[in-house]
Symmetry: C2
């Protein structure tokens, strides 16, 4: 039976939401795997005591330290060896767990994953591939979204290769299409980095490692033209955070204008409520909770990171993602593909 | 009296919208300046003939060639010397016009502006600063949005300096704040380019050339924290195009859901119309037409470029922007500031 380690202390809503999500997951999964919850006993145990968990495949392990959102990643990993984050990854390293899930400090989790689990042989740099909204069936993953800056062409090309394997094996996508995010569609466009990367992606396409459709631009991200969008972490991180700020920005305009119409007697309160619901539902494609989190591609182990705001539902989906990646042997496929390079 | 040259052939809606916008501008401005319309006589003259322009300060000059949206900038500028674009800029060079306005091929206009008008002494690279939405009073300009890739730290720092002068002089902003778009707020974050740029911006701030607030992230763009947002053209261009694609993306979700509510008899058609209007109005901050276009900062002359989709209203606002930049002597202020460096 698989064991998945879960960081009870990770995220803005921890440990409450993590405990909640863990219990929900085991009930929904009907105990088909075991969860090892890691965190500060004095904070987690009282929450666990509120539930009857005697029928669940749930174990708890105390970790006295906590890496917070404000901790500097490299320092925290060294100075807080007894944190739930480092302990959880060590359990994976010691084969006491098959995967690890946290909604905590992303930078610290990447640093600790690299430090404790290392890279899959052949991987230049592990990367983070975030989910972006799309309307058509399938997925859109942008890689990298912040783990790597100052990327070299071979880094970007390898991100595409790893993500192709991930989408193919973990998401069952037959032929995921890769686009290179650039300033124009012509292959001679953009900075030197991307001109060189373009050549490497063409080469990877010829070797059937990826399916490359060429350069794409900012307005193609939401259009579903590509399911894999490759860029440096600076570009991807900026886009991700810009995109995340849009629902709030727009609602601060839309909501008052509906309220104004109601106050003026032009719009029925019930109609305004329906319109407001349609407005909120519009951002459903922006909801990353359905995926829960994102894996660190290239790490020699399963380490899934979630948004700091993760809810119980997001935690559940992250745990299922870990289970799925283990079962589909995504890392083994990556190792085999890179060994063949 | 000022003379502003206008490219009748630039943009997807040319020459119709350009002729329309030109006539509206002169009526609104009550002939306080002269407009010199440049384009293919056989296409423009019939449009002009539909109006009585005898009372307007309007002249027309024939240019047999047209640079299209698909033309490769560097090539087009060399091979189409008799295009409205190149001719218009030559008129500025020969002091027969005080400024030039086009909604055509941005790359070609930048290349031609550089070739014909050159740079203000001391300018490393001219840049394009696009307007981004904001809710608070003031402006948000992101620089650069596509004229420059592979920027060096001194390029980015100079963009901030030029844009500070532009916002101060052309937009009357007392103390425009500059943010450096990066992957984190700490000054040691991000790629080497931005670490070096951060130092130069701090230095420029100490010399009172700019007002630097430090690094900002993607979620700060719409928050009005900074009015000047500095980044490489690859990042700015990607953000601009991504942002432009959002209204359409969201409306393809929102509109059908309102229609569904109406079809189900849950929402009154009149209420749906009001909600639809509020939805459209929500994107008003995304409407770049109110600015019309953007100037090429650092070009030794006034060259304003508009969106390819520009309407008559956008053309009008571009012409007013040209007039304003000439009157406020923005380029003179830039030249003086750089001479003092």
């Amino acid at each position: 039976m698989l064991t998945i380690a879960v960081d009870a202390m990770g995220g803005d809503n921890a440990p409450e939401c993590v405990v909640e999500g863990t219990i929900q997951t085991l009930r929904e999964a009907e105990n088909r795997f075991e969860i090892l919850l890691i965190g500060q006993e004095e904070k987690v145990q009282p929450l666990l005591n509120r539930h009857d968990t005697s029928d669940l495949n749930l174990r708890f392990t105390h970790a006295p330290e906590v890496i917070t959102m404000d901790d500097v990643p490299a320092t925290a990993v060294k100075t807080k060896q007894n944190s739930s984050l480092v302990r959880g990854l060590l359990l994976c390293k010691e084969n006491k767990a098959d995967g690890f899930v946290s909604a905590g400090n992303t930078g610290a989790q990447m640093a600790a994953s690299l430090f404790v689990l290392g890279r899959i042989p052949g991987v230049h740099r592990p990367a983070i591939a975030a989910y972006f909204p799309r309307l058509a069936p399938g997925l859109t993953n942008v890689v990298d979204v912040g783990a790597n800056v100052d990327c070299k062409p071979e880094h970007l090309a390898q991100f595409a290769e790893m993500l192709t394997i991930y989408q193919h094996n973990a998401a069952g996508m037959e032929k995921p299409l890769t686009g290179l995010l650039n300033i124009g569609e012509e292959e001679n466009k953009g900075p030197d980095l991307l001109k060189q990367t373009h050549k490497l992606l063409q080469e990877a396409d010829r070797k059937n490692k990826i399916n490359f459709i060429g350069n794409i631009e900012g307005n193609d991200i939401l259009s579903s033209r590509a399911s894999i969008i490759v860029c440096d972490g600076l570009v991807g991180n900026t886009l991700l955070k810009f995109g995340e700020s849009i629902p709030h920005f727009l609602s601060t305009i839309f909501k008052p204008s509906l309220q104004k119409l109601v106050a003026a007697g032009e719009l029925d309160p019930k109609a305004a409520e329906l319109a407001g619901n349609a407005f909120r539902a519009m951002f459903e494609p922006f909801d990353v909770e359905k995926f829960g989190g994102v894996p660190f591609l290239g790490i020699d182990g399963i380490s899934i990171v979630g948004h700091g705001h993760s809810s119980a539902k997001a935690i559940m989906n992250m745990i299922f993602m870990a289970e799925h990646m283990i079962e589909k042997q995504v890392n083994l496929h990556i190792a085999e593909a890179l060994a063949g390079n």
